[in-house]
């Protein structure tokens, strides 16, 4: 991503607003924006946040080149003083964020930007674009991996991804959420993740017959010999020819370490069971039976229930586009403006007739509350920065809408963790992104902090995200202060 200048990857209104702040306000007014989302995608019980590394690269690289300025001038919307300001633009603010691979819930700030208003405004669009995309795909991949129940899931979607970045960063997100490999070679190179794949129908078709194609492939790649068996007829041609080749390998004393077949069409339940029996009968009970073809978590789930003899899953289109829910509704909302006189943040709120769309004001942080006994998440608490909590005291949680719903945590039964970490301080990056495979290991542990009831694919139990007493009162005071006459 860093090879491209993405500074203009923004909505025009960010720039027209910036010029407005520049001309009409104290352009250095410090504000707080929160990036958060309102609903878990695809009916899931949580999301996996992802994309922070690319947000960091984007922020680090922010600068208007001469041809960017020339282009903006050509729109006729911008004055020379503002364009001159852009020429020297760099990000000078603070950013806090939840690390990639963390399990997150609706209404929690995933990223908090504290910066001069012009800077905070500019970064909105690209920041949302990146976080929305990768969090969407990571969440979808977590569902698919969950459905596969321990079998390996490979990400195969590049050709159906919504452009090159969707393929590259979608595969990155899928790896974070637990895929064992991707077909995407560029993603493998960029992020050091395993790349996987064997051959296509065209390989088979380019030889005079299927058996010759299989034999040739086995000779070339004996240690990862997965043969695609459905080019002509899976059970009458593909599987028998594959077995013939495995027998030849056995006779030639070639070690059959990782070998098997791939099914890419037809009734996968039926074909896999038939193929499994043929492979077993021929003395190849440990052959991998890999399946692909428009799979998703529901289909994998259904195939498992049907007893399909598949132990490796290649998932393409439905994962890389998050087909049933192709967008993650992340938004970026103003939460506070610094009052220079008092040095304090004045909270800001966005009203809506829909209670769920009313924003949480102020300078916030998130405390995750774990049970000391089980290590599982009890709830998340959105607080105001600076609130003090002591695990030796009891803690009262209450639902922010239905406030009579209360939970009382006894002292020393829970553990608190701050979810957001500093990423930029005064425009300088203070965070080092972990390697993708390390994020994957972290994400696996994160998923273990959820009860299985919150991980199930349908109607998961919703983890509570509560507001601290202080934040709740601030929010309600602000709400009460708005009145419009009938």
């Amino acid at each position: 991503m860093s090879q491209r200048n993405l500074t203009l990857l923004t909505d025009l209104y960010e720039l027209t607003m910036m010029q407005g702040y520049f001309k009409e306000k104290d352009a250095n007014e410090t504000v707080i924006f929160d990036a958060f989302y309102r609903t878990n995608p695809g009916g899931n019980g949580y999301a996996i946040c992802a994309g922070l590394e690319q947000v960091i690269e984007y922020i680090k690289d922010l600068h208007f080149e001469e041809d960017d300025v020339d282009y903006l001038r050509s729109t006729g919307l911008f004055g020379e003083d503002f364009l001159e300001y852009l020429r020297h633009f760099k990000f000078s603010g603070d950013i806090y964020a939840i690390p990639e691979g963390t399990v997150v819930f609706p209404r929690e700030p995933l990223v908090k930007v504290i910066a001069p208003i012009m800077e905070a405004q500019l970064v909105e669009t690209a920041l949302l674009n990146i976080i929305n995309h990768q969090s969407l795909i990571a969440t979808k991949a977590a569902r698919v991996v969950y459905a596969a129940g321990g079998d390996g899931v490979m990400e195969f979607g590049l050709r159906r991804a919504q452009g090159p970045d969707a393929g590259i960063y979608g595969a990155r997100a899928a790896m974070i959420a637990g895929c064992i490999g991707t077909s995407n070679v560029l993603c493998g190179k960029m992020f050091g993740v395993p790349v996987k794949g064997t051959h296509a129908h065209s390989w088979i078709m380019s030889f005079p017959d299927e058996l010759t194609a299989f034999r040739t492939y086995a000779r070339l790649y004996p240690s990862a010999c997965i043969l695609l068996v459905d080019t002509y007829d899976t059970l009458k041609s593909g599987v028998p020819n594959a077995i013939k080749v495995f027998q030849e390998m056995k006779e030639a004393k070639i070690p059959l370490t990782f070998y098997g077949i791939r099914l890419d069409s037809g009734d996968l339940a039926y074909l896999s069971k038939k193929a499994k029996k043929m492979l077993d009968d021929a003395g190849f009970p440990d052959a991998v039976i890999s399946a692909s073809n428009d799979l998703d978590e529901s289909l994998i789930n259904s195939l498992k229930i049907q007893g399909a003899a598949i132990n490796s899953w290649g998932v393409g289109t439905n994962l890389i586009t998050s087909k049933d829910c192709p967008s993650f509704g992340g938004v970026y909302k103003l939460a506070a403006i610094l009052d220079k006189k008092s040095g304090k943040f004045v909270p800001k709120i966005k009203l809506s007739e829909n209670a769920e769309k009313i924003t949480n004001p102020g300078n916030k942080c998130i405390k995750r509350i774990y049970s000391r006994e089980t290590g599982k998440i009890i709830a998340d608490l959105i607080c105001l920065e600076g609130e003090k909590y002591d695990e030796n005291n009891s803690l009262l949680l209450f639902d922010p809408i239905e406030t009579w719903k209360k939970t009382h945590l006894a002292p020393n039964t829970y553990h608190l963790r701050d979810l957001m970490v500093p990423v930029f301080k005064d425009g300088k990056c203070v965070y080092e992104s972990p390697a993708v495979m390390d994020i994957q290991a972290y994400c696996k542990k994160e998923l273990d902090t959820l009860w299985d009831e919150s991980r199930r694919l349908v109607n998961p139990h919703e983890v509570h995200v509560d507001l601290s007493n202080e934040l709740w009162h601030m929010k309600n005071q602000l709400l009460d202060s708005y009145h419009f006459s009938e």
Copy 2:
């Protein structure tokens, strides 16, 4: 796109197959691959093909840099002889394609690659990725623009797009299909398309009150003054304040050329009608009433039926992700292999139990048949390269599956057009991509060649794509040649 080296943007199996061809076959064997799709996305009656310019850039730029070769070596899959070959790799083949913005139908080759098998194989994944994405979004945008019935549609989806490229090239595709502008500044710079936008809720919230925010905006941008009226209360605060500002502008003799309001939440039918009445009553009947908020073609259609007083549409998430159908199922299939002895292409076919998945073999071209009387498309005919047609003769068309369904075109009542044009010859680009706004103008004419029955949003009439007599017989001979014993 050309700033990045996308040569490794491919599935691993393309490279393992390439090495297989390199080591085991005549690596210079010339083959033909067709890129086509099987079903129009989202229940539409056609698709708009798009992305060719980016495919051309990708093909032109294909080369393995030293660090690509190093990375491939590190996988342990590739031999030094093959890696040395890659170091000197460049595309040397021919490519034919249907120009961007053309109305296309299922099973028609959108791109045809005639090249040495190794080269043709490598480019599969990126070519499909690019064409699938842009054709998907162009088709979706054509539906949205159709629903808007002449009102302007603006593309506002960058923040919800699946990564930066999805935002940039998605906006490009949306422009091709008739959007009047995009919020995406980088797309505007890269492709010379109009950029649009005004301000967000954060602009309003950053001022002490809404009226001050509106006044400031109107002072800054008097000639494109669309005020966002739903931050606090649309009808009690937003619209009255907007009217106050328009009145002040009028009194100050500032010309109200392009001005109005934007609704971004609530019941758009109700609010727009109420707002329209308030604006009319105040003497502003020509104010633009713009709407956004999770719009798509169905919702726009419904709002129009309800008599919503909206005349400008900002469409984001649902367009940029093609939410109801986020993938375009383009595939890339081997169609023929050149027999060196005879100098003739030997047709190849991929079988499937599903008749629709059986490929069309041979070196093909597409003739579009127009009615001379109406200028509308009668049908498309997939033929073999070299077949001769004469408009002075009659033409018999028949359904390739239900062959008794026949249509007889009388001499000189129809007009034939070859859809595919040469794009690369011997590795050299021979095609110049038009500017995006020129493609938009072409696309508008293309859409006019469809009967309205094929453009409607639900259950459109399907345009026939037939096979020539010669191709039909070749295909059936090939099918008959495969037999697998029970």
